[in-house]
């Protein structure tokens, strides 16, 4: 065995050029794999954070009927006395805020706008005094001011503002229905424009003060939801269950507590699909590297058919010859894997500090990720180790096929080979 290893090693160093070229192919494959994975993981984590911070919060409490019918944003399925629930949750040391979510349309007119128009949007009424305990929207304010209770003002996303040509101070008319289903119009002014890293918010959600919405929608203190914030690593399922138990203890059984995972099933479905898609891309990368190795091993073996014949004539067993070639390929795989993991890790490191700016992609294309600006790669040691091992193992497996074919030849035919 020792001498087979040494033979393989000598062949590798003797055919240096070939070794380097093939190992480079593997290295590039593995490097891309590692980088790609870190990039995806970064996107996923960023995306999840932006989803939780700006869109779903960690856990949302709603009326169970509201949860069933949430697509149509029903205002008749509300939580009547949110403060009781909020107090209870805050006693568990979880920040919680009320919100009213409703559908409608904004109407705008020529001057100051370029032209007349109307756009259907989703409205969220927030309590300006405490909403930022859960949603860090204040930090994303790009121009103007944050909302204030009692003011007929709204806050909109910067992309939406750009779409309709709105600026701070412009008027807008909201057309919606009250809790009882009557049409209602609200004239408001744009107080602030936010640049939210969650494109869903930035593209068409309008924020309005809670008391204004309460008045105009005749909510009588009712809200559609209460959102709470947990640390990103927290076990949200367990906490949600815990909250439901506590609600039940208090005799409140018309409410449900849903986690961000329940709330963003569409996002999670897309994320799974995307992972499958990127796995296919990674597979392609591997196939390219594998083709490189198989080509090299094919050449290496066919170049040496006579040498192989000699070895067999001298009494080397097929299994030993197989091992010799597999070790040789494994050596190439090893060199490529070492170089590839170093190369991949370096670019991951580079982009984990520099970041990749691709706001332009997400502005013009809705790809489902809750991402906007600069994104950072995230290092995943598990994948690096996997890539390393896979690089070696695949190289070895690939050498097996041409070796087996060469071993099927008669020894006499091998020896006659030119």
């Amino acid at each position: 065995m020792r001498f087979l290893i040494s033979l393989a090693w000598k062949n590798l160093s003797r055919y240096r050029k070939r070794t380097i070229i093939t190992a480079s192919a593997i290295a590039v494959g593995i490097g891309i794999y590692i980088f790609f994975d870190a990039w995806l993981l970064g996107a996923e984590l960023d995306s999840e954070r932006n989803l939780i911070w700006y869109e779903t919060s960690s856990i949302r409490i709603m009326d169970s009927q509201y949860w069933e019918e949430q697509e149509r944003l029903p205002l008749d399925r509300v939580v009547e006395n949110p403060e009781v629930v909020i107090k209870m949750v805050e006693e568990m040391n979880i920040p919680a805020v009320p919100r009213i979510r409703f559908g409608g349309e904004v109407i705008f007119y020529k001057d100051p706008y370029e032209q007349d128009g109307g756009v259907p949007v989703q409205f969220i009424a927030i309590d300006p005094e405490r909403d930022d305990r859960v949603f860090p929207m204040k930090q994303t304010l790009e121009s103007g001011k944050y909302l204030k209770s009692g003011k007929m003002e709204i806050m909109i996303g910067s992309w939406f503002a750009e779409d309709i040509g709105a600026e701070v101070g412009y008027p807008l008319t909201i057309v919606t229905r009250t809790r009882d289903g009557f049409f209602q119009t609200i004239d408001v002014e744009i107080a602030g424009i936010i640049n939210c890293p969650n494109p869903m918010i930035n593209n068409g959600t309008i924020f309005i003060p809670m008391d204004v919405a309460n008045n105009y929608l005749q909510m009588e203190g009712g809200v559609t939801e209460m959102d709470m914030s947990l640390p990103l690593q927290a076990d949200v399922e367990k906490t949600a269950q815990h909250i439901e138990e506590r609600l039940e203890e208090k005799g409140i059984n018309n409410l449900v507590a849903k986690t961000w995972k329940d709330l963003a099933q569409d996002y999670l479905a897309i994320a799974v699909q995307k992972r499958a898609g990127s796995n296919i891309m990674l597979l392609l990368v591997f196939i390219i590297a594998a083709v490189g190795v198989s080509n090299t091993m094919l050449m290496a073996i066919y170049e040496r058919v006579r040498e192989l014949g000699m070895m067999r004539a001298l009494g080397m067993k097929d299994s030993q010859i197989r091992i010799a070639f597999i070790l040789e390929a494994g050596g190439i795989g090893f060199i490529g894997s070492v170089a590839g993991t170093i190369f991949g890790s370096l670019i991951v490191y580079l982009f984990s500090t520099l970041g990749i700016d691709y706001s332009w992609i997400f502005k013009n294309m809705n790809v489902g990720y809750r991402l906007t600006g600069v994104m950072y790669t995230v290092w995943n040691p598990e994948v690096v180790i996997t890539a390393f091992i896979v690089g070696i193992v695949i190289s070895m497996l690939i050498a097996y096929i041409p070796t087996r074919r060469a071993l099927k030849m008669q020894i006499t035919d091998c020896l006659r080979n030119e």
Partner: protein, 226 residues
């Protein structure tokens, strides 16, 4: 030592069947220095391949060192060749990435000998074939004659019963060829190893102690000379 009885071998070349050996019978004793001579295509290589157990006869009996080699399977044959047979090829067939010493040691590594014994036997054989001082050279830095000397050392180092050499001098100039044959003769005497070599060269035949003439797959002459 070697017994062949009515050995036949055909090759299929497209539509036609080539009768390479048409019933060869031959007995070879321990320590003989025998040449199989004949023109190109007469069946020399085929015969050596059968004795060398790297090919199978279509019919007939082949016994080597009392072993009925027709009855051995692939792995048993490999082990048999490993222990009993040495090969010298027309094209030398050294492993290009190994030095002279390592090429010779290769045959011993297959026998799982101790490191010391491998080293000892390798060095002493390289000395015998006149390559002292060149042990660490790669084949590419050796002349054809020197490479063939390494090959002879590789064949002999495991102390085989028989060394088979298919046209061992065909790729060498006549002086070098002569020197190789002298070396083989010397080794035959010293180690009492049976040597069987094929040739179509008159000069080479002169060296043989026994000359077997092959023609169209049949033995036409078998003479001993001293």
């Amino acid at each position: 030592m070697i017994t062949l009885r009515e050995v036949k071998k055909n090759y299929q070349a497209g539509e036609t069947i080539v009768k390479a050996l048409r019933g060869v019978s031959l007995d070879v004793d321990q320590g003989e220095f025998l040449s199989i001579a004949g023109p190109s295509g007469s069946g020399k290589t085929t015969l050596l391949n059968l004795i060398g157990c790297i090919d199978k006869a279509d019919s007939g009996v082949i016994k080597i060192d009392k072993e009925d080699v027709d009855k051995l399977d692939k792995n048993e044959l490999a082990l048999f060749r490993r222990r009993k047979l040495g090969f010298v090829f027309q094209t030398f067939n050294l492993i290009p990435v190994l030095t002279a010493k390592e090429n010779v040691a290769f045959a011993l590594h297959l026998l799982n000998l101790s490191k010391n014994e491998i080293e000892e036997r390798t060095m002493s054989l390289l000395k015998e074939v006149g390559l002292e001082g060149m042990e660490d050279r790669l084949p590419s830095r050796l002349s054809g004659g020197q490479q063939q000397r390494v090959a002879i050392a590789r064949a002999l180092v495991k102390k085989p019963a028989i060394v088979l050499a298919d046209e061992p001098t065909a790729n060498l100039d006549s002086d070098t060829g002569r020197a190789i044959l002298e070396l083989m003769e010397e080794m035959n005497k010293k180690h009492t190893t049976t040597f069987i070599f094929s040739t179509h060269d008159q000069m080479v035949m002169e060296f043989a102690h026994r000359l077997v003439q092959l023609h169209d797959g049949q033995i036409t002459k078998d003479e001993r000379r001293n």
